[in-house]
């Protein structure tokens, strides 16, 4: 398992660096820094309940119409309650630690433009819970966001995304709903 985890980590990091390398600047580079928080909703998982999610992200606009954004996020699954034989038990949900990058179609609030942006992403997802061996897998995401520009470089964002984390023959899937605020640094020529 540990070997698989390291392989998955390396693959995720490699992909992140490839994405950033391919995005070598053809225009001035605009960089932002954002924080976000929201809800992590497990899909088709009877043993895992919704919980909070938060993280940071660094959007980099370097390619026309496309913005790349490395991210780091933590989500806590809620305690799932179940009654067996008249007694109620609870199973703690997954703690999901993830990092990776997304590629979005649009400027994501880093400049003027259409406020809605679809995106896809890839990253390393570590799923851990008490009483189970933690596992780290390569995961994929797709979503749509909305950016509302504020004065002096700030922007508000709202996003919804689906995350798929393949686990051998099956997968763990989540919907993330979050809002965040981001600050745009001055473009680097």
């Amino acid at each position: 398992m540990r070997g698989t985890n390291r392989k998955s980590d390396r693959a995720a990091m490699l992909l992140v660096w490839v994405l950033l390398a391919v995005a070598s600047p053809v225009h001035a580079v605009t960089v932002g820094l954002g924080v976000f928080g929201g809800e992590n909703l497990p899909l088709a998982q009877e043993d895992n309940d919704p919980g909070p999610q938060w993280g940071i992200r660094v959007p980099v606009h370097a390619v026309s119409n496309v913005t790349f954004e490395p991210f780091f996020a933590i989500a806590d699954g809620g305690r799932h309650e179940e009654t067996f034989g008249g007694t109620t038990y609870d199973r703690i949900g997954f703690n999901v630690l993830s990092y990776g990058a997304i590629a979005a179609w649009g400027r994501m609030g880093l400049g003027s433009g259409f406020p809605v942006f679809p995106y896809v992403g890839i990253g390393s997802y570590r799923l851990a819970r008490e009483g189970a061996e933690a596992r780290t897998e390569l995961g994929y995401s797709a979503g749509v966001g909305y950016a509302y520009a504020l004065p002096v470089g700030f922007a508000l964002q709202a996003r919804s995304e689906v995350v798929v984390v393949p686990t051998d023959e099956t997968s763990r899937r989540f919907v993330n709903l979050n809002v965040g605020v981001q600050f745009r640094f001055h473009p680097v020529p």
Binding site: V22, E46, D47, G131
Partner: protein, 186 residues
Amino acid sequence: MRRAHLVLSCLALALASGACNLASRTVIAESEGPAAMNVAGTLAGSTAIGRAQVDLNQVAVYRNTKSGLQAVADIALLGSIKNNGLTIVRPEFFVTADTTSFTNPALVRTNGVRLWGPIDVLPSALVALDWNKSAALVGAGGREVVARETTGDGRFTIYALGVVTGTSWNFTVQDFRTILILETDS
């Protein structure tokens, strides 16, 4: 612009490769055991061992998902353990493949694999098993047996035994149940 299309195409392909698991889900299967299993013994030998013959085919959740069953994600033993004696007892659970009827702890230890525990239960104490802590007490060998039997014919047997800590032991496992979290694509 061409480069951007290339990047997005690569990511879309990667996303599609992960999408083959989109039909899967996790479900919770509960197998109810005996209402009470008394386990007792002395240094001279065991006088009673607990036994729960598990047939998952009697569990509706298991029957409904068996055709697409892919893995067992989580195992826990629930219920409570009452120490009937005046010394600390150390209950543990073993598992054998298929339905067995051993009455001797030595045979259980020889033919089975430790599934869970042990834990200490103080004199006259009643310990309610916690789902999270119970899952953490499941050993790798026992987990493998349960997973193999679950994806196989769904039959295995769990035994409650006492580890010798003094001159005698006497405890009761109450409301025993086996809880499995199954990963299935049906």
